[in-house]
C-alpha cells in the first residue's frame, strides 16, 4: 500500500509545518495585543502606543517564529518524533502503536488555503498528545499513511484502502433541519437568551436598554391589560415567539454544525466528516467504544427518529463545541436503523424488544411519592403566597404526577445477554444504553435507607467512558446476582476466550 512502509531508511517520512502557520500565528498575536493595537490606532499612531505593542507583542511573535522555525516531525520505524524549541529543545517520541487517531480540523480560512490542524490522540487518554498546527492537507494524509499504513492490527487496516469505504449514514440538509427542530430546543432558548442579555449588558447603552424594556412592557400592558383573555393571549404570543425563535435557532445551529454529515466505514474503522464553517474529520475504531446510547427526545419518539451517541475511552474533551458534537455518532437516524447499527458497532449485540426485563413495580409507588413531595412543597409555597383557594391549585397536577411515574416505571428496563448489557430509561427523553460486558470496570450495588425499607437497590455499571449505566429500583437479591454475574463475566472476557495453556 504505502511506498514509505517498505523503505529501509531510518526516517520514512519527515516534514515541518506549513508556511501559513506564520500567518495564523500573526493573527493570534494580533488578537493578543488587541488592546494596545486599538490604543495605538486611536491615539493617532503615536510612539507610546507602538512601544506598548512591541512590549506586549514581540515576545509572542518571537515564540511563533521560533516554533515554526524549529518544529520538525518525522515518522521512524516505530515511533513518531516531534521536535520543537530553540532554547529549550523538546523531543517527543510517540510509539506508533499508541496512536489511536489523527484528527483533522479546519476552519473556513484554513479550508480555503488547503491546510488543517492535526491532533494526535493516544490511548493514554484525556489529552491530545501533540497538535500539529497547521499542515497542508496532503501532508496530513501522508502522515496518516506513515503512521497507520505500516500497521497490521485491525485498528489501522482502515487506512489501507480508501476504496473500501462504505457509506453508512449521510444526512441531507432536510434531515439536519429535522434534527434541529426535534432536539430539545428549550435549552437552545436559554443559551440564546443568556447570550442576548449579555450582549445587551455589554454593548447597549443604559438608555437604549431602558427604552427596549419599556417598549416591551408597554406593549404587553397595552395588549394584555384589557381583559384576562387578552392577557393570556399575549402571554401565549410571547411564549410562542420565544419558542419559534429557539427552534429556528437550533435548526440553524444543527445545520451549521453537522452540514454534509457523512458516517462511513473503512475496514474496521468508522469515519465521520461534518461541518459547514469548520470542517471536522475523525476516525473511530469500534474497539474503543465503551458504550452506545440511542437517544430520543419526546418529539423524536413521536416521529420515530433517534440520535446515536458513543462513549469512547481516552478521548480528549477540549472545548464545548467539540464536546457537543464529538460523542455524537449520528445526529439523526431512524430508530430502527439505530437498532440495526448496534450490531455493527458492537459485534453480536442485538436488541430484542420482547426481552426487556422490568424493574420492581415498587418503582411506580416510589415515583409517585417522590414527585408528590415536590407537589406538596409547591402547594405549601402557593398557599403561603396566595393564602386562598388558588393555593390548592398545584394539587390539581396529581394525575400528571401519577402518569409521569407510571410512564417512568414502564420506560425502564434492562436486557442481560452474556456479552452485552442493555438498559433503557426516561419517560420523556428516552435513552437506550448498550454496554459490552468486557468494558465494565466496576459494578456497584447501593442501597439508601429508603431502598432498604422496600428491599430495592441501585445497580451501577462503570466503564472507562463518561456515562455510567445506572439501573434503579431493582430487587436487592436480583441486583446482587446480576452484579456478581456481570463482574465475573467481565473478568472471564478480559482473560480472552482462547483456552489457557497453563
Amino acid at each position: 500500500m504505502s511506498a514509505e512502509a517498505d523503505a529501509i531508511a531510518p526516517s520514512r517520512l519527515s516534514g515541518r509545518l506549513h508556511p501559513w502557520t506564520l500567518a495564523f500565528g500573526l493573527v493570534a498575536v494580533a488578537r493578543q495585543i488587541l488592546i494596545p493595537l486599538i490604543y495605538w490606532v486611536f491615539s493617532g499612531f503615536g510612539a507610546f502606543g507602538a512601544l506598548l505593542m512591541i512590549v506586549f507583542g514581540a515576545p509572542s511573535l518571537l515564540l511563533v517564529i521560533a516554533r515554526y522555525w524549529s518544529f520538525r516531525y518525522r515518522v521512524e520505524a516505530d515511533e513518531l518524533v516531534i521536535e520543537q524549541g530553540i532554547l529549550r529543545r523538546q523531543e517527543r517520541h510517540i510509539p506508533l502503536t499508541n496512536i489511536q487517531e489523527i484528527r483533522l480540523e479546519q476552519n473556513l480560512v484554513q479550508r480555503w488555503l488547503g491546510v488543517a490542524r492535526a491532533d494526535i490522540e493516544t490511548s493514554t487518554g484525556g489529552e491530545v498528545e501533540a497538535s500539529l498546527a497547521v499542515l497542508a492537507v496532503d501532508d496530513i494524509a501522508r502522515l496518516r499513511q506513515g503512521v497507520f499504513g505500516a500497521r497490521t492490527d485491525g485498528a489501522a487496516s482502515a487506512e489501507k484502502l480508501a476504496s473500501e469505504e462504505t457509506l453508512i449514514i449521510a444526512l441531507s440538509p432536510r434531515e439536519l433541519l429535522i434534527a434541529g427542530l426535534t432536539s430539545n430546543g428549550i435549552f437552545t432558548l436559554f443559551i440564546a437568551l443568556g447570550a442576548l442579555l449579555r450582549f445587551a449588558e455589554e454593548w447597549l447603552p443604559e438608555r437604549g436598554r431602558e427604552a427596549i424594556w419599556r417598549a416591551l412592557s408597554d406593549s404587553t400592558r397595552a395588549l394584555g391589560g384589557q381583559s384576562a383573555l387578552m392577557a393570556a393571549a399575549t402571554l401565549a404570543l410571547w411564549g410562542g415567539l420565544l419558542l419559534a425563535l429557539s427552534v429556528a435557532l437550533s435548526a440553524l445551529l444543527s445545520l451549521a454544525r453537522f452540514y454534509d454529515f457523512r458516517l462511513t466505514q473503512q475496514g474496521a474503522a468508522l469515519r465521520r466528516v461534518y461541518g459547514l464553517f469548520t470542517r471536522r474529520a475523525s476516525n473511530l475504531s469500534p474497539a474503543r467504544i465503551q458504550l452506545v446510547a440511542i437517544e430520543q427526545t419526546p418529539l423524536r419518539r413521536l416521529l420515530g427518529w433517534a440520535a446515536l451517541r458513543v462513549d469512547v475511552a481516552g478521548v480528549a474533551y477540549e472545548r464545548d463545541e467539540e464536546r457537543q458534537g464529538r460523542g455524537l455518532l449520528a445526529p439523526l437516524l431512524r430508530r430502527k436503523a439505530a437498532e440495526r447499527l448496534l450490531s455493527r458497532l458492537l459485534d453480536g449485540c442485538a436488541l430484542d424488544p420482547r426481552a426487556w426485563q422490568p424493574v420492581s413495580p415498587l418503582a411506580f409507588r416510589r415515583g409517585v411519592i417522590r414527585r408528590s413531595v415536590w407537589l406538596m412543597l409547591a402547594t405549601a409555597a402557593a398557599l403561603w403566597w396566595w393564602s386562598g383557594a388558588y393555593g390548592w391549585l398545584p394539587l390539581a397536577f396529581f394525575p400528571w404526577v401519577a402518569l409521569a411515574s407510571w410512564l417512568d416505571y414502564r420506560g425502564r428496563g434492562y436486557i442481560v445477554t452474556p456479552d452485552y448489557w442493555l438498559a433503557r430509561q426516561g419517560w420523556a427523553n428516552r435513552v437506550i444504553y448498550a454496554v459490552p460486558a468486557r468494558n465494565v470496570q466496576a459494578v456497584v450495588v447501593s442501597q439508601t435507607p429508603f431502598d432498604r425499607r422496600l428491599g430495592l437497590a441501585t445497580l451501577t455499571l462503570d466503564t472507562a467512558g463518561p456515562t455510567p449505566v445506572i439501573i434503579r429500583d431493582l430487587p436487592v437479591a436480583e441486583a446482587q446476582a446480576l452484579a456478581s454475574r456481570v463482574a465475573r463475566r467481565a473478568e472471564v472476557l478480559a482473560q480472552g476466550c482462547q483456552p489457557r495453556l497453563a
Binding site: 473478568e491 489457557r500 495453556l501
Partner: protein
C-alpha cells in the same frame, strides 16, 4: 432478604459464568477454585479503635472551633442570653459527638467486609447507606497501600484499588492489618500477572 449485609446468603453464580470460568492457577491462594461460597473477611478489630480516634479528633477540632466562634461571636455581637442558648445547643452537639464516636465505629466495622471470589474483589460497607462494590481483578490498574500517621501506630493500612473507570475509579479497603494488606496486595498482583502471562499476548488491555 432485603438488605445488603456482609453475612448475607451468598448467591450462586450464573451458570454460564461458571462454565466459562478459567481454572484457578496454582499460584492462587484460594482454597477452592471458583469458590463462590468463600465467606466474607471482616476488617481488623483494631480499626474500631482507629476510627474512634480519628472521629474523636475530627469532632474535637470541629467543636473547639464552634465553641470559640460562639464565644467570640457572642461578645462581639453582644448576644446576651442567646449565648446560653447556643451553649446548650453546643453541649447537645458534644453529647451527640461523644455518643457517635463510641457507638458508630463498631457498627461500621460490623458492616465492612471484603472477599475475593472467582477473581472478583467484592467490598461491602455502609451502615445507613449500604454499598457493595465488585471489581474484576483484571480491571485493576494499580493498587495503593496507604498508611496514615495513626494507622501506622495501630499497625493498620488501607488498600486502594484503582480502575480505569470514570466514576467509580477507586475503591478503598481500610482497616486491614499492615501485614494482611501487603499479603492481599501481593496475592492479587500475582494473580494479575499470572493471568497476563498466560494470555497469548494477542489480547491488548481493552482500554
Amino acid at each position: 432478604m432485603s438488605e445488603l449485609t456482609p453475612d448475607a446468603v451468598t448467591l450462586s453464580p450464573a451458570p454460564e459464568a461458571m462454565a466459562a470460568s478459567p481454572a484457578e492457577s496454582a499460584a492462587s491462594l484460594e482454597k477452592a477454585p471458583g469458590a463462590a461460597s468463600e465467606s466474607f473477611c471482616a476488617l481488623d478489630p483494631d480499626a474500631i479503635a482507629l476510627w474512634r480516634l480519628n472521629g474523636g479528633i475530627e469532632w474535637a477540632i470541629l467543636l473547639a472551633l464552634t465553641f470559640v466562634s460562639i464565644t467570640v461571636g457572642s461578645i462581639v455581637l453582644a448576644l446576651g442570653p442567646w449565648f446560653w442558648a447556643l451553649l446548650v445547643a453546643w453541649t447537645l452537639a458534644l453529647a451527640l459527638a461523644v455518643a457517635q464516636t463510641i457507638w458508630y465505629p463498631p457498627l461500621a466495622h460490623r458492616h465492612y467486609a471484603y472477599r475475593v471470589t472467582d477473581r472478583v474483589i467484592e467490598v461491602r460497607r455502609g451502615v445507613w447507606f449500604r454499598e457493595s462494590r465488585l471489581i474484576p481483578l483484571s480491571r485493576i490498574q494499580h493498587v495503593d497501600l496507604r498508611q496514615g500517621l495513626f494507622e501506622r501506630s495501630y499497625g493498620l493500612a488501607t488498600l486502594v484499588f484503582h480502575t480505569a473507570g470514570m466514576h467509580e475509579s477507586s475503591t478503598a479497603l481500610p482497616g486491614l492489618s499492615a501485614a494482611a494488606a501487603a499479603a492481599l496486595r501481593d496475592r492479587l498482583i500475582a494473580q494479575l500477572h499470572d493471568a497476563r502471562r498466560t494470555e497469548t499476548g494477542t489480547a491488548e488491555p481493552s482500554v
